[in-house]
């Protein structure tokens, strides 16, 4: 639209070009100025993927010294010994004791910590100090001392100790950029950590090199299942998740908490693996030879609403079944809590209510009236925001029309700032989600198990973290 406007105003250099041509012209000019080589289509695609033109320069390279960082940030120069204290911003507020429950409970994207402040060290530094994850670290600056539990971060520089910006302990340590001495205290702290941090080579969050084809090692045979194909007469709700756009910000997770009356369970539940999130960001942090070579991946994981769901046939009382619109429905009233469905779900998408939820006054006023509050002993999981689907279908019926693509947005799809999640009707040939699912980068999670999931993931581009 802006291009049309510019063309109409006859702005120089714009006339009649589409955005692709325009940007290509721009970076070709930049490449020429920097003396970069951009002849091959591969090189051009790399630039498009990374958004950066890298050129050579004759000047001698000067590394950026970490000590300069505080100067750049306006802090006093540090002492020469000890570790550099770096405060980093998190999308949530796990370390802030005054933050709302959602922001403390949803685990920090990269460290997996919730309900606690923490300090991060690189594995080499931790080994040097003789500490491991969960140990209490004593940080000492000229201004004060603080004890913080340790989380290991392979991507962190060896000379740095990182603390989340909202950790109250930071106030005791003085201004950031200070040099700190880190010592082991010998004490440990049960740090509420969620999630094993490695994919163990199982390639769940896939990466595709630019211009390459997605390697399909685990063949998904057509007809390779004894399950009878489903009849979805009207709609088949599906989703696509673009891993290239997902930043792991956890906004979708918090949105799901808000929309679906998920209770906040607390630190002890986080330690015990009993958080109630229907949608989780599963991170993997794979160390490399250097901190820069750490490979980080994020995978939003939720109920895949499989066509051949393994959770459905094992429920003794039909508390879960496949609806005619393709959803895997969970009937809370019927569930007697055998937990067989949760065991059988290969994605671990199902969550059990280990106790009655507590919504502290006045938080019960925030509850969504379109969604029930589940009691203890009942299984729950993502419903593709079925209340919104029904609402949209009802609205369409009232207006005497069919449901259009875009009428239904689940809470997570609505909230994602990168628009990585796309939701729609797989039976609608014009739906955005159909185009996404047919993309060359599209794959299904755990294809070899043949669950026929409704969610397609689009592999992240490029080999860099």
């Amino acid at each position: 639209m802006l291009l049309d406007l510019a063309a109409a105003l006859s702005l120089p250099g714009i006339a009649d070009r589409d955005f692709h041509e325009l940007s290509k012209a721009r970076w070709q000019a930049a490449a020429k100025a920097l003396g970069a080589q951009l002849e091959t289509p591969q090189a051009q695609r790399d630039v498009q993927a990374r958004g950066v033109v890298v050129g050579k320069t004759d000047a001698a390279a000067r590394p950026l010294r970490l000590e300069s960082l505080p100067l750049l940030l306006g802090a006093p120069p540090p002492a020469s010994e000890g570790l550099q204290l770096v405060a980093f911003a998190t999308t949530l507020a796990n370390a802030d004791p005054d933050a709302p429950g959602w922001l403390r409970e949803v685990p920090d994207a990269l460290s997996g910590v919730s309900w606690s402040s923490w300090a991060e060290l690189s594995p080499a530094t931790a080994q040097r100090l003789g500490v491991k994850a969960g140990d209490l670290l004593m940080l000492r600056t000229g201004d004060g001392t603080a004890e913080l539990p340790l989380a290991i971060n392979p991507a962190l520089h060896e000379d740095a100790v990182a603390v989340p910006r909202d950790a109250p302990e930071l106030r005791m340590l003085g201004a950031l950029g200070r040099s700190v001495r880190a010592e082991r205290t010998g004490k440990t702290f049960a740090l509420p950590l969620t999630g094993h941090a490695s994919q163990e080579g199982r390639d769940l969050a896939r990466v595709i090199s630019s211009g390459g084809e997605l390697k399909r090692e685990h063949g998904h045979e057509e007809g390779g299942t004894l399950a009878s194909p489903h009849e979805h007469p009207k709609h088949r709700w599906s989703m696509s998740i673009d891993l290239d756009k997902c930043t792991g910000c956890q906004a979708c997770v918090v949105a799901c908490y808000a929309e679906n009356n998920l209770p906040v369970m607390g630190a002890q539940a986080a330690r015990e693996g009993r958080l109630m999130a229907w949608l989780r960001i599963q991170r993997s942090v794979e160390p490399g030879p250097t901190p820069e070579a750490t490979r980080i991946a994020v995978l939003p994981s939720l109920c895949q609403h499989c066509d051949a769901a393994p959770c459905e046939p094992v429920c003794p009382v039909y508390a879960t079944y496949h609806t005619p619109e393709g959803l895997n429905a969970q009937v809370y009233n019927r569930c007697i809590g055998t937990r067989y469905c949760a065991n059988n779900c290969p994605y671990d998408a199902r969550v059990f209510n280990w106790k009655d939820p507590v919504f502290v006054e006045p938080l019960q006023m925030q509850l969504n009236p379109d969604v029930s509050v589940r009691s203890k002993g009942v299984m729950e999981k993502c419903t593709f925001c079925v209340q919104r689907i029904r609402y949209a279908e009802g609205a369409a019926r009232d207006e005497g029309r069919e449901v259009r693509d875009g009428d239904v947005t689940p809470a997570c799809v609505q909230t994602c700032p990168a628009q990585a999640l796309v939701f729609g009707d797989a039976k609608d040939p014009h739906a955005r989600v159909v185009a996404q699912q047919q993309d060359g980068r599209a794959y299904r999670l755990l294809e070899e198990v043949n669950t026929l999931p409704a969610i397609a993931y689009l592999a992240r581009r490029g080999g860099q973290p």
């Binding site: 958080l275 994981s301 094992v314 003794p316 007697i336 671990d348 059990f352 209510n353 106790k355 009942v378």
Partner: protein
């Protein structure tokens, strides 16, 4: 000894077991009752406050409670094998021991049957698993192994109980006519009017044969159904076609080991050493050896197939079972189930009460640990590494386990004192047969 004298001696031995209980028995009964109380209290916590008092989490949805369930179903398999299968094979050594074993079966099933209710998140709706007509037009899912469990365990309980009652009828009648008052009425209840006429024996004998014929496939099918709780799922480490024969062999192993573990003190305490002799125990221990070998073979098959199959979740899960968080449990299981029973190849060990008792006690522990390993390690270490976790059993689950042992021993101790723990009628039949043989040889 004449036939009549033999029969009188059998009657006397049986009556002696029914005398007023001593302090030892009373103390054991009290202990069992206390254990039941502990289990009841632990369960009450779960009913009132939810399953949070277990150590379960996401993804480990099953733990000690399901282990207990499979363990007790295994214990329950002892009696049916000994009384039904060995009956069909006409194994003579079964006569002296099968009544106590049958009682263990019935009480084992009664104990096992509690667990599908105890482990539910909403146990007050446990009856929803039964196919009763209702105005909401709801049905149960017959594809689910848990429904198969409900039917199989109920059937097994009914058939085993009826089998036991059928066998008890003549014996209770024998004791009835020699007793008075309340005791007499108690025996009369179980005797169901038995007079011992040839007409009655005619029907009884035939019916007993058919019970044995029904119970034999039950031995195989019930534990196969329980194994399908795991094998029908897609969890790595569970999803294996080997499970039904593997579990049935394991059940017989744990059942017969429990029979031996209990018979050794019982025969001493109740002066049954003349009837339950060392050769009987020797024969039973050979069953332990045989099933232990089958179980060892099953373990090797499971591991070899997974390890040779290339990188897969199954491979990782099975390696984790042997080397992961609960590795001591794994190796103790191997020691108890595979290595210990190998000593039973030696006759000296088979006829040594101490040796038998210790090996069989180790088997019991090993079999419990086997179920724990299978259930927990596969759930802890499944397809999505992000979800890998560790399960720590908590006091409520341990309390319920203790309660289940209390419940079993409570009923079993009552049975020992109130009903004949040897089969009087069959022993008499055997005694007459032996007398005939000896007379024929002497002539």
């Amino acid at each position: 000894m004449t036939v009549a004298e033999r029969m009188r001696s059998i009657d006397q031995t049986a009556e002696d077991t029914q005398r007023a209980p001593g302090r030892g028995w009373a103390a054991l009964l009290l202990l069992a009752a206390v254990c039941v109380a502990i289990g009841a209290y632990s369960w009450s916590l779960m009913i009132r406050f939810g399953m949070q008092y277990t150590g379960l989490n996401r993804p480990v949805g099953w733990g000690v409670l399901i282990t207990d369930f499979v363990f007790w179903v295994g214990i329950a398999h002892s009696g049916t094998l000994i009384s039904a299968v060995l009956f069909l094979f006409r194994a003579r050594f079964r006569t002296a021991v099968y009544r106590a074993a049958e009682a263990m079966t019935v009480f084992g099933v009664m104990t096992a049957g509690l667990f599908p209710i105890i482990h539910l998140g909403r146990p007050w709706y446990a009856f929803w698993i039964l196919p009763y007509p209702n105005q909401r037009h709801l049905q149960i899912n017959f594809r689910s192994p848990l429904v198969w469990d409900a039917f199989a365990i109920s059937t097994y309980f009914c058939v085993s109980a009826m089998f036991l009652l059928a066998g008890l009828m003549p014996d209770a009648a024998a004791l009835r006519d020699g007793s008075h008052g309340l005791r007499r009425r108690f025996y009369a209840l179980f005797a169901m009017g038995w007079r011992g006429t040839a007409e009655e024996w005619r029907h009884h004998g035939r019916a007993y044969l058919y019970f044995a014929a029904f119970a034999t496939p039950l031995v195989i099918s019930v534990h196969s159904v329980v194994s399908w709780d795991f094998a029908v799922s897609i969890v790595p480490g569970w999803h294996s076609t080997l499970f039904p024969p593997y579990f049935v062999a394991g059940a017989i192993l744990s059942g017969v080991a429990m029979v031996i573990t209990l018979l050794i003190p019982i025969r001493r305490a109740m002066n049954l050493e003349g009837i339950i002799t060392k050769p009987h125990l020797d024969m039973l221990s050979r069953l332990v050896l045989l099933t232990s070998l089958i179980v060892s073979y099953s373990y090797s098959t499971e591991f070899l197939l997974a390890l040779r199959g290339g990188a897969s979740p199954e491979r990782e899960t099975l390696l984790y079972r042997a080397t992961g968080a609960f590795w001591p449990f794994f190796w103790m299981m191997v020691l108890g189930n595979c290595i210990g029973p190998l000593f039973l190849f030696f006759r000296r060990v088979r006829t040594s009460l101490f040796g038998l008792f210790s090996i069989c006690a180790l088997v019991n522990v090993g079999m419990w640990l086997e179920r724990f390993n299978i259930v927990v390690s596969s759930l802890e270490h499944n397809r999505i590494p992000f979800d890998w976790s560790t399960y720590h059993p908590r006091l409520a689950e341990i309390g319920i386990t203790i309660g289940s042992f209390g419940w079993f021993f409570f009923w079993f101790l009552l049975f020992l004192k109130l009903l004949p723990s040897v089969s009087i009628a069959e022993l008499k039949e055997e005694g007459a047969h032996d007398h005939h043989h000896e007379a024929a040889h002497a002539a």
